[in-house]
Amino acid sequence: MTPAIDVASLRKSFKGRDGTSRAVLKNLDLQVAAGEFLCILGPSGCGKSTLLNVLAGLDKVYEGRAAVNGGRIGYLFQEPRLLPWLTAEGNLDFALSSCRVPPARWSELKTRYLAMTGLSDYRDYYPHQISGGMAQRLALVRALCVEPGILLMDEPFSGLDEITARRIRSDLLTIWEETRKTIVFVTHNAYEACFLADRILVMSGGAFQKQLRVPVPRPRSYDDPAIFEFSRDVIKAFGDGTSEPAAPAVPATGAKLIDDLDRHTAARMNT
């Protein structure tokens, strides 16, 4: 069976303003099986968002191979990125029409995923009228509505308060168990990774340092001591694998540079 995501010798570097180039992805190899829940764990600026952008096709400048099979890609950003002038339902319609989902199916899809996330009563609300947690949940509904085979998630819950984040993580697992989509979930939160993933790849300095399988059986409960134990091991492994401090690491000065560069690529994408 072909893997849903197949990355081989993926390299990417950014040119700084002074002409020096800085490698952000160093020879990555990655296979993700269909239906797998993979977490990529690493500190800010380690290249994990860059990797997701390459997988999503937002960033087309790289060397090596990055193949994605198994259908449309859904992407959940760090922020909800809803269109503020459209209602909740309008935002879903935007995604559905952009992806050319046949209109006959819209109502069924919207109803299904809104119900799964408890947002059924908020169809007519504008993004600014709902809480941050609800907005991020709505973004998840939007991503699911277009029925992606693969869901890429870039620290989607890091901006939320812990109680809300916890609830959405559990919702996400329930949805994943029901739909069995391939998920690549990027985070700097070790506990979150241990709760969610089948497999964790520890990333730092643009390379995968370590691979860990999460031995906790499903369905999982957020307060399971086994998850806590394992997350401690993960954090320890983190310390061994790299010279940098363990997560959540303080972003190095280089990280700021990468943010800047990301903004440049975004600007270039726009023209």
């Binding site: 859904g74 503020p84 935007f94 504008y126 600007a267 994408m269």
Partner: protein, 246 residues
């Protein structure tokens, strides 16, 4: 309510101040209103007012046609921004009187020249507004739309334009504020009718009652346009925006 009270206070203050000078130099609110009503009743208002409105609307449309594309280009392209920003500043600095004189000398004493002079004066301020707006476009939303496989035209229409539109609206209102004032000046120099012409005419006859009457008329019309046309349009279009309490 407060607004209404401030109007009442303003009229009272006007009335009191006018007592300090003879009425033919500084007429009070009552005399001004009577003079205005006399003009309206005699049917002297229609032609001049409609000609002024025509120039205002024509000037605004042309100013938007000139100003918006330049602003968009400057917002999108750094090189264009670097070249054009000094020219926008120069355009902004040149007094509207100069534009008016040049337009009448080059294009003749006609409506076209008047509208060109008005539009060229207002266009730089419109450009600046749009330029700022386009620079503020959220590229993160564009990346989002690309994830959902939106086509380029769809991204422009459904993601970029809705973000730029509030700035077009704001610059149109802002431009209108400038255009009212230029139009009167342009009429004073080179047109045989309009509110500006009337103001100058009555000034030459030293009839302050009429000068204030026409000023009052113009102000009332402007306020009505603002309150009855622009505000409701804005409220309707931007209903999605959060109410901000300052």
């Amino acid at each position: 309510m407060l607004k209404l009270m401030s109007f009442v206070v303003a009229v009272i203050v006007w009335g009191l101040l006018s007592l300090t000078l003879p009425p033919e130099i500084f007429p009070g609110p009552y005399e001004t209103a009577r003079a205005l009503w006399g003009e309206i009743a005699a049917g002297h208002v229609g032609t001049d007012l409609s000609m002024t409105m025509l120039r205002v609307v024509g000037g605004l449309i042309l100013a938007l046609i000139l100003g918006v594309p330049v602003g968009v280009i400057m917002g999108l392209n750094r090189r264009a921004e670097a070249v054009l920003d000094i020219w926008v500043m120069i355009g902004l600095t040149i007094p509207s009187l100069c534009y008016a004189i040049m337009a009448f000398m080059w294009f003749g004493l006609n409506e076209t020249a008047a509208i060109i002079a008005i539009a060229v004066t207002a266009a730089p301020s419109i450009t600046i507004n749009i330029w700022e707006g386009v620079k503020n476009v959220d590229t993160k939303l564009v990346a989002m739309a690309r994830i959902y496989e939106a086509s380029r035209p769809a991204i422009i229409r459904r993601v970029l334009l809705p973000q730029i539109f509030p700035y077009v609206m704001a610059s149109a209102r802002f431009g209108l504020g400038i255009i009212w004032k230029i139009t009167v000046l342009v009429e004073l120099i080179g047109r045989p009718n309009g509110v500006g012409f009337k103001l100058f005419y009555w000034y030459q006859l030293a009839d302050m009652r009429q000068v204030l009457a026409w000023t009052l008329l113009f102000t009332i019309i402007m306020l009505l346009i603002e309150l009855l046309i622009l505000k409701p349009i804005e409220r309707h279009i931007f209903a999605w925006r959060p109410q901000v309490a300052v």
